[in-house]
């Protein structure tokens, strides 16, 4: 006997269904069949359905009541298009789009179950129809109110405790380029547990090289973590605030990693090689914490949602610390493209020229593998970060400085990295994000990278609940004085904020800074410097 059925296909089909029905779709193998429920937002039953997986991105759905097929189809279509309310939280969107087509299927190939009146009764008899540990499915919130089940005990992640158990006096770490820095006369400082160059000649000269020619930075202190496996995309979609499904192969984006209580644990760059293979770059100071956190979430033994202890990731991934395999150099400035073109493999030059911002490509320099990413932290329109093997990084560092000499490249230290990023208004973790004010991405003006339309990511609800009463601003001094971290911001005679970063801007020949201030600050205000107030204004 032929039955009406719905064919659901597309790269996001599995994730779509995972959020739309109550059972665990991700564990369904090709050719496999499961029964499940289609619920609405109040956990009322639309119908019992049978789902068959035809292929990786291809499913067949049959309603137990044939008359419900049309209703189910329009429900799925509307969810896919995003124009239907399916949750009390109106910001969310089901992961789509998917293609939904009506088709016919031989009924005997599918298991059929009787329809029960209410979801509660069904749960009593068939708890296997409900995968409550899923990060999200429609009706999940209400379901918890109408059914009783034993909530699992999950461990609470606490990095501060982990830290204390580690040895207190660790030696400063060094990047593979440490000796090269000394040879070039760098002044070394301690930064986030690493011994790094602050400058080689002086910060202003290095800053100007970034803006007018090119500068090469050693950023080997940053953390690199690989995320691999079938569940990699969904894992990152739960771990980070950005929408990972919009990344194409060879693209990267900026995102935040939040704790379950909505605090910023780090800001990171996520790179997609393919949907089963990603890596992320995190701040030097946070790398240990982030590695621990990712492993904790992956273990499924740690709480990721304060209100829903049963929630966990859908599928375990393979996590690997890439620090032994890769180190990073940043080549930034208007001449950086020309310099790279001259030294990479001839066959790859055309591809490099076409490379867009946030894209990356594999190439080589003198036969040595290099991954070139069009990205940076200086605010330059043209700039790259190069991922290279630690052993070969010295050769590549010196080649770039030698071959790029005519185009004005010089090595630059963390001093110029800081002054260029302040000029560009970029946040630094601990200053304009998190830190003593616990600054959220929204307050930092970076809400774009938090996709609340995702029905679930760690910290989502907690962040939504947070009150926003302050913001980060970029300002310049109207009088001669340099703003520094911690200086009070005064508006109409009252302290309404604090400077979070400040510097001299060589490009503009001005004193500039970033500050965390009350939302209602005016365009002009004052900065209190050593007991005196100096005029400043928002840029």
């Amino acid at each position: 006997m032929l039955r009406n059925s719905l064919k659901i296909s597309g790269e996001r089909a599995e994730t779509f269904l995972q959020q739309v029905i109550t059972s665990k779709v991700s564990s369904l193998k090709s050719g496999g069949v499961l029964s499940s429920l289609l619920l609405d937002k109040d956990a009322c039953l639309l119908d019992i359905i049978t789902l068959k997986r035809e292929g990786e991105d291809n499913f067949l759905m049959v309603c137990s009541n044939p008359k419900k097929t049309k209703l189910a189809k329009s429900w799925l279509e509307e969810l896919s298009n995003g124009y239907v309310i399916f949750d009390e939280d109106i910001l969310v969107k089901i992961n789509g789009p998917v293609v939904i087509e009506e088709t016919q299927v031989v009924a005997s190939s599918l298991v059929r179950r009787e329809r029960k009146d209410i979801t509660k009764t069904i749960y009593k008899n068939h708890p296997e129809l409900f995968s409550l540990s899923k990060p999200y499915f429609i009706g999940q919130k209400r379901l918890r109110e109408i059914i009783s089940f034993s909530k699992p005990e999950k461990k609470i992640y606490n990095f501060k405790n982990l830290r204390l158990s580690a040895s207190k006096k660790e030696k400063l770490k060094r990047t593979p380029l440490y000796r090269e820095h000394l040879k070039r006369g760098a002044r070394m400082i301690s930064f986030a547990g690493w011994e790094m160059p602050i400058f080689y000649s002086n910060i202003i000269r290095e800053h100007q090289a970034v803006r007018s020619a090119a500068a090469l930075f050693d950023i080997g202190h940053m953390g690199i973590i690989e995320i691999k496996g079938k569940g990699a995309t969904n894992f990152l979609n739960i771990i980070t605030t950005n929408y990972v499904w919009c990344l194409k192969n060879g693209e990267s984006f900026y995102a935040f990693i939040l704790s379950p209580d909505g605090e910023v644990m780090d800001d990171v760059m996520v790179y997609r090689r393919n949907k089963k293979d990603y890596f992320l770059v995190c701040n030097s100071i946070n790398q240990e914490k982030i590695r621990h956190w990712l492993n904790s979430v992956n273990s499924k033994q740690y709480l990721i949602d304060e209100n829903y202890p049963e929630k966990e990731i859908e599928e375990k991934v393979i996590l690997r610390n890439l620090k032994e395999q890769k180190t990073i150099l940043a080549l930034q400035g208007p001449n950086s493209l020309s310099i790279l073109k001259n030294i990479i493999a001839k066959d790859d030059v055309r591809r490099l020229k076409k490379l867009q911002k946030r894209e990356f490509m594999e190439t080589s320099i003198s036969g040595k593998e290099v991954m070139v990413a069009y990205t940076g932290y200086t605010g330059e329109k043209i700039g790259f970060e190069l991922f290279v093997s630690p052993a070969e990084s010295i050769f590549i560092w010196n080649s770039i400085l030698k071959e790029g000499k005519e185009l004005g490249v010089i090595p630059a230290g963390l001093g110029a990295r800081d002054s260029t990023r302040i000029e560009a208004g970029f946040p630094l973790y601990g200053h304009e994000l998190a830190g003593k004010f616990n600054i959220s991405p929204i307050e930092a003006g970076l809400g774009f990278y938090v996709k609340f339309h995702k029905p679930y990511f760690i910290g989502r609800e907690a962040l939504l609940r947070k009150k926003i009463s302050n913001k980060i601003i970029l300002f310049e001094m109207l009088e001669k004085a340099i703003p520094r971290e911690g200086y009070p911001v005064i508006f109409q005679g009252k302290k309404i904020g604090e400077v979070t970063s400040g510097t001299f801007s060589p490009s503009a020949n001005k004193y500039i800074g970033l500050a965390y201030v009350a939302l209602d600050i005016g365009k002009e205000f004052e900065i209190e410097i050593r007991g005196k107030n100096y005029k400043a204004k928002i840029i």
């Binding site: 800053h207 001669k480 340099i482 520094r484 050593r530």
Partner: protein
């Protein structure tokens, strides 16, 4: 002023004495350490400053540092040209880039200063 004839503080200021006037500047070691100097602030003429307290501020791109007075007294003169030309500090730290002149109140305070040789030893530590 010859650097060999000056006295020095542990915070790298130099002091030259002429009668009851002390001239204060910053040693070339400190100037090099600071690297990019982008801001200098001096006290007003006539202000009384006290031993050990800052009489001014010098800032690089990265950070602000206090300029400490090694002696108490009244500020007689400040070197305004220095605020507009930081390169002077690098080019000529002991002559053209003097910072303030102070009328000495208590010459006993000078005893705590290092002479040139002692300062050189101090830098090696």
């Amino acid at each position: 002023m010859k650097k060999e004839n000056l006295n020095y503080t542990k915070t790298h200021e130099w002091v030259g004495i002429k009668g009851e006037i002390a001239t204060i500047g910053l040693s070339d070691f400190a100037v090099k350490e600071l690297s990019d100097i982008v801001f200098i602030e001096f006290p007003e003429v006539g202000k009384k400053i006290k031993l050990g307290s800052p009489f001014g501020t010098i800032e690089s791109v990265k950070a602000a540092f206090d300029l400490n007075t090694p002696i108490s007294g009244e500020v007689m003169e400040i070197n305004q040209t220095l605020s507009d030309n930081f390169d002077l500090l690098k080019d000529d730290p002991y002559e053209k880039s003097w910072m303030v002149k102070i009328k000495i109140e208590n010459s006993d305070e000078l005893k705590n200063l290092m002479d040139f040789e002692q300062y050189q030893e101090f830098l090696k530590k």
